[in-house]
Amino acid sequence: MRWLDGGQSAVMQALDRGPAYLPEGIFAGPPERVLAGMKVHANTISHARLVALEETFPRTREHLGHDQFNAHSRLFIQQPGVTAAALADIGANFPAFLLEAGEGADAADLARFEQC
């Protein structure tokens, strides 16, 4: 598989959907080592997105409590379109998402305020 014509998108699919989607013949080394390497990248990506939301909405996080905020954040970053945004803008639809997720208007308003 050529890197630019399929190899790169195969790696993206594995990062998004899990190691079962990683085709053979791209990475060298024992499978457990390749898996560990992919896991580092997947964790870095997920962690950076969650931290970006925490840093954008510190008061909303305080208002909801860490666990509740984190649960919403983890669901939010899996929504279509969210990951197309730059990290600084990743929370653009987070206030609306909180409302849809059943949080009160106070939490959504606070998030909207923090976006400004």
Binding site: R2, R33, A36, I45
Partner: protein, 298 residues
């Protein structure tokens, strides 16, 4: 290509963090007494200054008047099959126009696609196909910015099956094709060498020092697995002894270079950062003659 307004001195700089704005500014203000480890320049991630104004830009303007800046981008995605992220490029160009940094750099990596941006630096295979595509994108960036850039060697957790050259050969060919330079990250050498079972000293020795415009030093995390240690480039701890030895090895052969202490997670007190900077400074002072600091540029 235009010469930058302020050349980056071959001395130690630190990554500029909002939590360090006050002590860092005091350290480089004209009235501050000289002390070992005082940063001669600062590096920032331009993506952290993507807004148009506000306190971050007021601080950055103040720093720019007192010390040279290096812009270390993490957002261009030079190795993406889709090509460079044009929105990031335009933002970077605007910031370069505003602050005239001494150096601009990004990474030998890619960050997904327009529909799925990964906040990570993903590896590129060392093949001619990837090289030509990467060189095309570096040239595109350099043409837009009107200056050459540096490209940083990555921290690698994965090796590709189809590599046809090693990292140094890839970087040297990239420099020859585009006129860009190398940002040599010593910690990344240690991380990649450990993870991929390569010889770190040989990796340092293989780099042509004439192409190196900046050096990075940082710490990393370590996980022990049954299949061997896995080093993770998290910039969250002091520089390791192994990296200090690699740095000494590089300086001994290459001479002094602008050298950055990077510390991006678990950010410590500014004094801790200065102590690391003093250590790097002492190595360069010991091994080569370094000119007196010239921090007052305004």
């Amino acid at each position: 290509m235009n010469a930058s307004t302020f050349p980056l001195p071959p001395q130690v700089g630190v990554g500029l963090k909002p939590e360090h704005y006050v002590p860092a500014f005091e350290a480089v203000s004209a009235s501050a007494p000289f002390h070992a480890g005082r940063p001669a320049w600062f590096e920032v991630h331009p993506q952290n200054y993507s807004g148009a104004g506000g306190p971050p830009h007021r601080w950055l303007s103040a720093f720019a008047r007192n010390a040279p800046l290096s812009f270390h981008s993490v957002g261009l995605s030079l190795g993406s099959a889709e090509g460079v992220n044009l929105e990031e490029l335009e933002r970077l160009a605007a910031l370069c126009d505003r602050y005239a940094p001494a150096l601009v750099s990004d990474h030998l990596s890619w960050r997904g696609s327009a529909s799925n941006r990964y906040p990570d630096l993903l590896p590129v295979p060392y093949t001619r196909e990837a090289l030509l595509r990467f060189a095309q994108q570096v040239s595109r960036v350099q043409d837009r910015l009107g200056r050459t850039i540096l490209v940083e060697n990555p921290s690698r957790y994965l090796a590709f099956c189809g590599d046809t050259m090693d990292e140094a050969d890839f970087l040297h060919a990239l420099c020859a094709l585009t006129g860009c330079g190398i940002l040599l990250d010593i910690n990344n050498i240690e991380v990649s060498a450990t993870n991929l079972q390569l010889d770190a000293q040989a990796m340092v020795d293989a780099i042509d020092p004439a192409l190196v415009g900046e050096v990075h030093l940082a710490g990393h995390a370590r996980e022990d697995h049954p299949h061997g240690p896995l080093l993770i480039d998290d910039h969250g701890s002091p520089v390791t002894d192994a990296s200090w030895r690699l740095f000494e090895r590089f300086v001994r052969s290459a001479g002094a270079r602008p050298t950055l202490i990077e510390w991006d997670s678990n950010v410590p007190a500014f004094d801790v950062l200065l102590a690391e900077a003093a250590k790097a400074d002492a190595i360069m002072q010991c091994l080569v003659a370094v000119p007196e600091p010239s921090h007052a540029l305004a």
